[in-house]
Symmetry: C2
Subunit: 211 residues, 2 copies
């Protein structure tokens, strides 16, 4: 691969934000952008943007700035966003439906290849064009046949660890968990826990600070 240094988590979050700005600018037909402009949008000092981008091997020109599409591509490559990846969603409740219907998949280079649930009333529903909700019992076979690498857990907390185990057994390499518990998995599985409560608690803390 390339000689990119491992990015810090904070840096990853910032780069995601820059990418958003860049894609917005691409839509508007802009061809170049300076670190100061990105910084203004992102609420950060220009030098921070330059330092973040520096590690990616940027190629900005003094007095002109960065080529918008080159830079966007650099970030997309750093995040492996353009490699086609398949994912499945377990739990077709409201959160599952919200995720299934969103555009995050194509943005990040994922295809939502399957959706599972255990409620017979939900099984068979059309989750997506050409994707019907399947029984959780089919998870092993479908993950194999669709070569699914990533499982998204949107089931209640009580079923989350169980779901994670099924996903791991079936061979996924990564799990994105929305249940409000930390799930455990073997070392080699990438687990990203995203309890929605955390954002609200962080907000509460920041409001207290701002008082």
């Amino acid at each position: 691969m390339s000689n990119l240094k491992k990015l810090s988590r904070a840096s990853v979050v910032r780069l995601e934000l820059y990418l958003e700005v860049l894609e917005q600018m691409q839509k508007e037909g802009r061809t170049h952008v300076t670190s100061a402009e990105i910084g203004e949008y992102a609420g950060l000092a220009p030098v921070k943007i330059r330092q973040d981008l520096f590690g990616l091997g940027t190629d900005g020109k003094p007095r002109v700035g960065y080529d918008v599409s080159d830079l966007a591509q650099l970030i997309r490559n750093a995040f492996d966003m353009d490699r086609a990846k398949s994912a499945c969603l377990v739990g077709f409740g409201n959160l599952g439906r919200a995720l299934a219907g969103s555009n995050i998949w194509s943005k990040a280079g994922f295809r939502l290849a399957a959706v599972f649930d255990r409620d017979p009333n939900v099984i068979g529903l059309e989750a997506l064009e050409d994707v019907q909700v399947k029984s959780i019992n089919e998870i092993f076979g479908v993950i194999k046949s669709e070569e699914i690498e990533t499982g998204i857990i949107t089931v209640p907390a009580s079923a989350a660890q169980d779901t994670a185990n099924h996903l791991v057994n079936a061979g996924v390499r990564s799990i994105w968990n929305f249940a409000p518990i930390k799930i455990s998995a073997p070392e080699n599985i990438v687990v990203e826990n995203q309890s929605l409560a955390w954002g609200l608690i962080t907000l509460s803390y920041r409001m207290k600070l701002a008082m």
Copy 2:
């Protein structure tokens, strides 16, 4: 207030995780816990837990550890979770429904006092017991009368900034934004952007690293 140092964002996230462990242990009837035990669950070194908790003014006992409920309370206080706060949700699509029906509100000390949408087919639906979806036009009056401090944005990106402006005009102090754009607001408003795409992109990056 107390003489707490400002916590770093990373520390806030970790403390939220510790709180989860502690609440789990409370349910199980445990009375004491050591930093090593929390660390094992959280996947962190004990000293990191101690250092995080140190700033909160902990009162652990050698050879015994921390009192579970005292420690949980300390964290809840640090995050102002026990102060009653009111929030409103704008956008009653799938994500809005998922949030409305979740238990995050009570966990973090919020009451979901109102839900708004602009779709006439959605207005009037029962979002929650005693909470019907109201027209977005009523937002100003309701925020005043219900003394709402926090607005949650779950509308499409195209309407997000507009929604934020309404919320700010009506007097909220903080905004939790799920639309995949960075919304801008006056300095004194606390804005937490939580685009769901970011988690998926982070996952993609970490999978690439793990290859």
